[in-house]
Symmetry: D2
Subunit: 336 residues, 4 copies
């Protein structure tokens, strides 16, 4: 951490700041120039509150030079984390998986039909929403516990692990048979939820918030890991920008950036990221080329009548074509 | 709602779409031009899923022309809502209130000292965080239930109603003696929480999310009102933009925009909105001039040692000066 | 275009609006519902000023349903435009080209050395800046006319066409021997410049502005085409968002979106788009996978001492490796 | 400037970097910790290219700690600049002025009529566009030289100084009788234009770009001042964000931030900043409360038929009412 002092601070004030810093067990280095004085701090500054220091009269600015996350930091854990989802289904460290299925669970037939289709096409994990975060209180909110039951049925019938979104801590007991618990973009900073998930042993799919920086995503993963659960998959799903041609702007550069900063696997959700079925295939291909460890794709057997997000769902046929394109590109994808 | 069809759709497809729409009890008007055909829908379209229609082959685009919110819509409730917080403390409909206090409750003496100071200066509601959403798991997370107790003590001693943030439904019983329950920016779309709060009779302070549109803020308020609780105060607290000179960009235009669209009172939090104590006063003054129904201001007796967000807290003296400036400007503030 | 009227407008006002619209040679269709009246306009509305209509008392909102661009619109010109740069060097319609070279021209040896290296690696067009837009007046501003001379020398020696950026109309005569005139992101809406370029017969490389929507990019291309020059290559080079981990957010979805909306070729500049040499390769690969018609890459023989943008330049070795990766992915790239 | 080195750099590499830095006449201070080494640079680092240093193998990151602008920096010129526009018309240093008039000059009668009205209401400077930057090539582009003539007529008749926008260097000679030359948002980084304006002695009104940071605005002002012209007025006019309820998000916090960083006067344009006539008054009042040195307001005698931006223009009556509100608030506005 570097503290930049205002011009001509009183020596007494500098001394007082320095002794305050030394109490925190930091190496304090003062660099005095003709015009400016800066203080360099060496040591673990992750618990120092930058804002407190900024308020001091003699301080002009403070800059952090170390990442504020430790457990998820690749610097301290250079090897890729491999998340073990089910027998033979791993993600990360060279293992690539596609999660596919309907946005929301509507009924047993729908789920089974879609699940069979995506399995045949090569998807290894079934996705489906039982609890749906909807902007409008009047929109379909998901089938709830019944939806999870339907997913579990499909899991048992087809031998596919399942992933579904949790929206509130109180529902955690319902997720016992869910293989990956998804934290949606809107809950990425629901810190109480993250703390609870940190106490479980379940793989967690953590989606980037609509307006969350990459560092904030890593800090949210840090919450889960600090609680004891390191089975985390990160997911880029589009950020909010001024552009309106796509629902969100899919930030594919997040893939190589994240893989440099953290050891956790990184997947991409081009369905939510674009909001447009016609863009899912090219963006899925781009994500794979950039080195993603997996994809999450919405597939619906009847997109026109889907109860939510129909505009971005692929038909099983289109999904099959996407999987073929992915298979051809994967061998030549970027590797760090 | 207006549906724009692609060029030269088959009449059969048009007929099928029209009959599907009529099933939803909508007046369907077809406008056929030489180059383009559009379908106008009159009636309650709030439950129609735009995305489903967009996926149809013959549809090029769909545009909603009515607001998707009803309860919070000023069109249907032209009179200002007045939220009744405590005897003699109302907000909205010409009633203006300032909420002030420390970002987080640290100890009994701190809270009492700050509370007395802000009361003397003219604040009518005491704010203080017992549960704190922090980006880092290593940062101070608030005193929890103990923090609420301390606030209640101050409330009893000084006769000031209190406002504090809830982060999870499970904590709701602890908020019995809290006069206004605050939903923070990160929880603005925690829909499960909003639904629960809709069942209470408590005034709710709903903060705009960092990257939430004004319409999304209104939809979140609609969740609460749809549940039966109309005692809602909206709060602008800065949005995330590319600018880094301020922590967020305080969107003061949200005040007149919201007051046109909804009957709910609107306040501004310039402390979080700017992240910088030196900017709190001018932005508080601007908010009042633009017609805000109140302010939420962080005040700390020792900002340098504040356990969180010290950089944006005012000293009691600075707060007193702010209150004087506000008092002078208020009589000339904008009125719709 | 659809005009949504306020509740209960006077018939006289409706009549007056309708006759005003009919004067503009538009088909006017009135759709009257119980609660709301809308007016549908069929015909060429590209010259109607939406804002004028919005100000009318009886109008609540106006929505455009047709794209405001014609010449660049794929609807009216379904076939891909192929831009002919030099004998054997075409771009678009299945033709893929890589433009590479230093950010700014520094001296003759540098340019020749880099040009030879990128040619050997497979680049077909040499890029280099003679006039450099720099945020600071104290930063290196480019060699100017001398820089263009050096580029032309390299062109003659190596038989490679060259691309360089123009910053002001007055410099146009200097670009006679430049094969592609580049309009930089900051000049994308320098309309006087676009008009002048529309009068030339030169291929134009039009870069998307930092905060320009895809529609604005197309409108700027429309300026050039309206002037008579249809030889336009569009370039995605990153947009400004809240994320700071990368210099800009490279919007790869712009590639398939643009290729759907327009017949013009679309390339990507991952060097400026990310600002980070380590991200150039994965993002170049992602761009190609998504269907880009070409790439623009910064290469420098001595990136550490580059006079501008060194952080994002590749060494010739790294560029060679990138070209190999691109060659492997290209056959499997997305096609509309 | 602070350079953060990667872990365990070779001493030889450190030595080489240090000697390179010393060649630039900088004081170099090495701070070595157990885990991390940082280098502090004291002296004038405004000409050091951060990006070059970032590319070095041993460098992890570089942080600038001094502002990159000097001439416009309040640190070096603590007193407010007062821009002298015409006899008795000054702006800055406590002098407040309102510029008002039509978006674009349409004809002589319109301009005279509006000019008289705004003068009566208290505006001291007449605005009007002769050259108009329009997104569409098919939109009205302004009357050009004829428009300037009409403005000059009004100036002579009413004794009001005039302000009008320049779009290209080649038109500079036409602006001889224009009192303030406006650089529009889209040209804020047209550096060639800024350099030319730096050579004139005219007051310049520099508008903030739609997606320009406050620091970039100051760097553009630095271009003009570095050329020798210090008569600069800065103008906040809204930035591009994700919000669509207003055309732009008017960043009123830019007023106090700018007044802290620079000695130049700062005005606000709420007409373009909101794009909505109903929001102009509250936002003008907010701007004044926050300490703006002036306002720029669009007024039209017939907003419904205005050839551009009619939706945001006030009628002369509404402008009169705005001026009265401003007059009441001004005495109590924020002062640094």
């Amino acid at each position: 951490m570097v503290i930049i002092l205002r011009d001509n601070p009183a020596q007494k004030q500098i001394d007082s700041l320095v002794s305050w810093l030394k109490e925190k067990n930091l190496d304090v280095h003062i660099v005095k120039g003709a015009e400016q004085t800066i203080i360099g701090l060496i040591g673990d500054t992750s618990k120092i509150d930058i804002d407190s220091i900024k308020t001091m009269d003699i301080v002009e600015d403070v800059k952090r030079i170390q990442e504020p996350y430790k457990n998820v930091n690749r610097k301290f854990h250079p090897d890729d984390t491999v998340v073990d989802i089910a027998p033979g289904v791993k993600i990360g460290g060279g293992n690539f998986q596609v999660m596919a299925g309907p946005c929301s669970v509507e009924d047993r037939n729908q789920v089974l039909e879609v699940a069979e289709a995506v399995k045949v096409a090569g998807a290894s994990i079934l996705r489906g929403g039982a609890f749906k975060p909807r902007t409008s209180p009047y929109a379909f909110q998901g089938l709830g516990p019944k939806g999870l039951e339907i997913l579990e049925d499909a899991k048992n019938k087809l031998g596919m692990p399942i992933v579904s979104e949790i929206m509130d801590i109180s529902k955690l007991p319902l997720f016992d048979n869910v293989d990956i618990i998804q934290v949606g973009a809107r809950n990425m900073q629901n810190f109480e939820l993250l703390k609870e998930l940190g106490k479980t042993k379940k793989p967690i799919l953590l989606k980037r918030g609509l307006s969350s920086t990459i560092q904030e995503l890593l800090m949210s993963a840090e919450y889960i890991m600090a609680g004891g659960n390191g089975q985390i998959i990160l997911c880029e799903r589009g950020i909010r920008t001024f552009e309106t041609a796509t629902r969100n702007t899919l930030d594919i550069s997040a893939v190589p950036v994240l893989k440099e900063l953290t050891h956790l696997p990184v997947i991409v959700d081009p369905s939510h990221g674009t909001g447009n079925a016609r863009l899912v295939k090219p963006m899925a291909m781009a994500s794979v080329a950039a080195g993603a460890d997996g994809l999450m794709i919405e597939v619906h057997n009847d997109p026109v009548h889907a109860l939510c997000d129909g505009a971005q769902a692929l038909t099983p046929e289109a999904f099959g074509s996407l999987m073929e394109s992915i298979a051809r590109i994967r061998p030549f994808a970027y590797k760090r």
